[in-house]
Symmetry: C2
Subunit: 351 residues, 2 copies
DNA sequence: TCGGCTGAATAGAGCGCTCTCCCATGATCG
DNA sequence: CGATCATGGGAGAGCGCTCTATTCAGCCGA
């Protein structure tokens, strides 16, 4: 921006009308004579005018920006997060295709509205304070929060300050914020039913971190369904939703139960690791061992064999988050609400 | 924000000083009597004041936001990008750990400066126009651009409008913008030297898309080094930087050259695919075949065996981009410049 | 013919900040 | 001891926009 950018005033002068009229044409409010509209539009064209967002925000009290926050539970300790902590956190977040799908869904909803997401990582107390301050300043109109830890204090802080926010997944302890979620129990059930229907008899499961509610519910749903079909006991290993943890868990299960013929993994990333370990041990998939994943992330199809998995419609869920947030921001919705999506079993090659 | 947020005026009244003085304390400009500083700070505390970003931007002409743009070459055709296109593009971007590292490096630099990145995908002409308009509006002070395609018109458009921007990697055709890059040729050279020093004699390479300059240069450097050591001919297969393309390329090479004993892959993702294929064909790594990757992304260590790879210091490069952009924005630097980083061979288990 | 009405355009008051002047005070020095 | 000067604080003019209140035509009916 070398030369001064043209302002409303400039356009008004060029068109021979008042500032207010130009503003009305731009925002399409009230009646403006069509011939004058044309005049104004041509003047805008000629001057190359673009409205100044800051000036507009100042009066409308709306920024057209929302914060997309990935938060952890991070140190209450002072001293600030090191760059390494931040790098590690970021790497972990991006390692799972899940986050990319969230971004995609959010952008899909925001884009037609010409809104944009600001990416924020809130892995430390300091970073969390920055998120809060950012919203208070009015730099963003609200927050979409993906918590990676049940003890994450951010949701409660947002609620306490009355800042518009929507969560991905029901928080561990009740908070007066809207959220979208998945019926994880039903997903677990579907996985169990599929493995049993396939004829698997010695089924094991690699669960997610059990302090994460979603993991626990996937497991509960899975076990309930198994029990209902007369299989009260299922060997279980706890993983950390990472590839490496999936491999380790599988190696352990395989050592104790060499005759297993079916595995339910709490996410696709672990399922991928599981497949690798199984193959290293000479098991064919799905002939010797059937594997069902969870998420239907991109790796489900890039993985070999392609994963049979319980689909979590993350993009749709993320878009719904954005939609709810918009309602809260515009005051169309006061009370927190929740939207729960249904999982769907996608049958491919691994089971 | 139920109740009206307190303004500078409120704080000033509370502290019994003028608005200007409060502003001075907050921004730390000029000398303010320490006792008055204290007075003001306490008043800020009491009122819970947070400066309004829009109002500040309006006068400083700075938003404290920068656009982090991932752009493609996308359709010049009208009709708008479909949600599916956007989803696919986003998925592709997130599939490679590379992008996460860029984000991490950028945030690492911005965070201490209390600046924040707005994530934008510019995969279509329409989306590109939105990026331009966003910058013109002053919603962001500048752009960090990661182009995924040599024909991407965005850099030239940014340069033409005089909008501050810094690119990741030298653009295919000259553009008056600063960029950071890697000495890809030297990276290729290091890979060749390492494989030869290991004693490999039948070496092949899986290159990246050859219309991408970085791929071409990695390949050139690799071939030059091989030639210099008396090996003018190296079988080559072209991949697309994806896991699947790496697997396909390797399968092809293996069919034609079953006795190969060394592979240089143009990135780690393909190297991972290559390792999978090699193992499926009963080759031990590194005993039978040595594999060298490129990037040193997170998969280099999560992969099994851990990858020997040419490290590209993406986080540092991204931070440098942010630094350069800052200089351009603050007018500390007028002429475009370039910063080229040196790759480094990281020896692990695969070669 | 004229008051009352309606629809279209304008005037101008802010939104909450920053920053340039300007002034008061007290220290400094010839 | 009065002129000079640094020092710290205040007044107030905008930044570019939106939006309310207002004016001004033009038209209708009585």
């Amino acid at each position: 921006m070398n030369r001064q950018a043209p302002t409303l005033e400039d356009v008004a002068r060029e068109a021979g009308v008042s500032r207010a009229t130009v503003s009305r044409v731009i925002n399409g409010v009230r009646n403006v004579d069509p011939s004058i509209q044309d005049l104004v539009r041509r003047a805008i064209e000629r001057t190359g005018y673009t409205p100044n967002r800051a000036a507009r925000s100042l009066v409308t009290r709306r920024s057209g920006t929302i914060a997309l926050v990935v938060s952890g539970a991070g140190d209450a300790t002072a001293g600030g997060a090191s760059a390494q902590d931040q790098n590690a956190f970021t790497a972990r977040v991006f390692a799972d295709p899940f986050f990319g799908r969230v971004v995609s869904g959010v952008i899909g909803h925001l884009r037609p509205r010409r809104m944009h997401p600001v990416l924020m990582f809130a892995e430390s107390a300091e970073a969390r304070a920055e998120v809060l301050s950012y919203l208070r300043q009015g730099s963003a109109d609200g927050a979409l929060v993906v918590s990676t830890h049940p003890e994450d204090p951010l949701p409660a802080q947002l609620a306490a300050e009355g800042l518009p926010a929507v969560l991905f997944a029901r928080p561990a302890r009740p908070v007066a914020l809207s959220y979208v979620d998945l019926d994880h129990r039903d997903g677990g059930r579907q996985a169990a039913d599929h493995l049993l229907a396939r004829g698997c008899r010695r089924i094991v499961t690699v669960a997610g971190p059990l302090d994460v509610r979603a993991s626990q519910e996937r497991l509960d749903g899975f076990r309930d369904a198994m029990a209902r079909q007369g299989r009260p006991y299922v060997p279980i290993a706890e993983g950390g939703f990472t590839l490496a943890s999936g491999m380790a868990a599988m190696a352990g299960l395989l050592a104790e139960h060499p005759d297993l013929d079916g595995v339910f993994a709490a996410n696709d990333l672990m399922a991928q690791g599981i497949c690798q370990v199984l193959r290293e041990h000479g098991r064919r998939i799905p002939e010797d061992v059937a594997v069902v994943g969870f998420d239907d992330s991109t790796i489900a199809v890039t993985c070999s064999p392609q994963l049979t998995t319980v689909r979590q419609p993350v993009e749709d869920m993320a878009a719904e988050m954005a939609r709810l947030l918009e309602e809260h921001i515009h005051g169309k919705r006061d009370e927190p609400t929740s939207v729960v999506f249904d999982p769907e079993l996608i049958v491919r090659d691994s089971a």
